[in-house]
Amino acid sequence: MKARVFVTLKPGVLDPQGKAIHHALEGLGFGGVNDVRAGKLIELDLADGTSDSEIEEMCRKLLANTVIENFRVERPSTGSGQS
């Protein structure tokens, strides 16, 4: 069973990397980009029966730093849950 964890910076947290990507896109001539925010995608291959709450605990304890980041979990069977 696979789950995908999307880790993104909280709104309002400065994202210098996103800004640099934005700048580079403009340098390539793409004028229509209003903003860029960069995040991480972590794919977990999990034992069957791993519960949503276990995955959420993994996110809170390690995969995301909830001081600055939000996370969202996507599981094929249960759809997506959000923190």
């Binding site: 210098p16 304890k61 730093n65």
Partner: protein
């Protein structure tokens, strides 16, 4: 003083820190590998060195903060043992939750490696008694992720309770309110991005870092 330097895979300032601690305390620190579960008996100072523990995988300090020895460090910090985290050590301390906030990529994305001017904001901490209030000192920084960020309430609380130990006296990395080093609520845990262990000999260009270790020794032995 019986000090311990925690060594993670990817630490690279552990030996410099050991040299500084031995110079000041007269006793070589125990070098404690991250897989250990316990600190040596009687450890009365824990130092977390700079470097790139675990290759900065996931987030700087994130993996190191979950290593076995850090449980013992968190326990010791709770008992009041002084903990000094420098550079990557500061990142590890925020990742464990011993210090609030987070250290993010430098605002201009550049790796900053140079001596910087720092203002000593609070000389009443365990770590800063060797300085004069408001004094400007010069200590090197060498980091990519030193941009200190926390929410406005946390920053207000840090400032109003004297928990900002050092502030940059020049623009360095985009840190909120120019914060370079903070202590925890109990005052026994300091995290700072600059490297005092790299300013302990005249040949280093500054001996301002030495006074941090000397002040700490005096306070702990007092």
């Amino acid at each position: 003083m019986k000090s311990a330097v925690i060594v993670f895979p990817g630490s690279n300032c552990d030996r410099d820190l050991a040299v500084a601690l031995e110079k000041v305390t007269g006793r070589a620190p125990a070098m404690v590998w991250h897989r250990e579960a316990e600190l040596p008996d009687g450890t009365d100072l824990i130092a977390l060195p700079g470097g790139f523990s675990y290759g900065d995988y996931l987030r700087s300090g994130a993996m190191a903060a979950r290593s076995p020895i850090m449980r013992a460090v968190v326990d010791a910090a709770g008992r009041g043992v002084p903990v000094l985290g420098i550079c990557n050590g500061f990142q590890v301390l925020t990742e464990t939750g011993l210090l609030p906030g987070a250290l993010m990529r430098n605002a201009k994305l550049n790796f900053v490696s140079r001596s910087v001017a720092l203002k000593v904001e609070n000389t009443q901490t365990l770590f800063t008694s060797g300085y004069n209030a408001g004094e400007v000192i010069h200590i090197p920084v060498a980091h990519h992720d030193g941009n200190y960020q926390a929410d406005a309430d946390t920053l207000d609380k840090l400032e109003s309770t004297g928990r900002v130990a050092f502030r940059y006296a020049e623009e360095v990395n985009g840190s909120a309110r120019s914060i370079a080093g903070i202590v925890n609520e109990a005052g026994n845990v300091l995290g700072m991005m600059p490297h005092p262990e790299r300013a302990i000999e005249p040949a280093h260009g500054s001996t301002d870092g030495l006074r941090l270790f000397q002040g700490l020794l005096e306070t702990v032995n007092a």
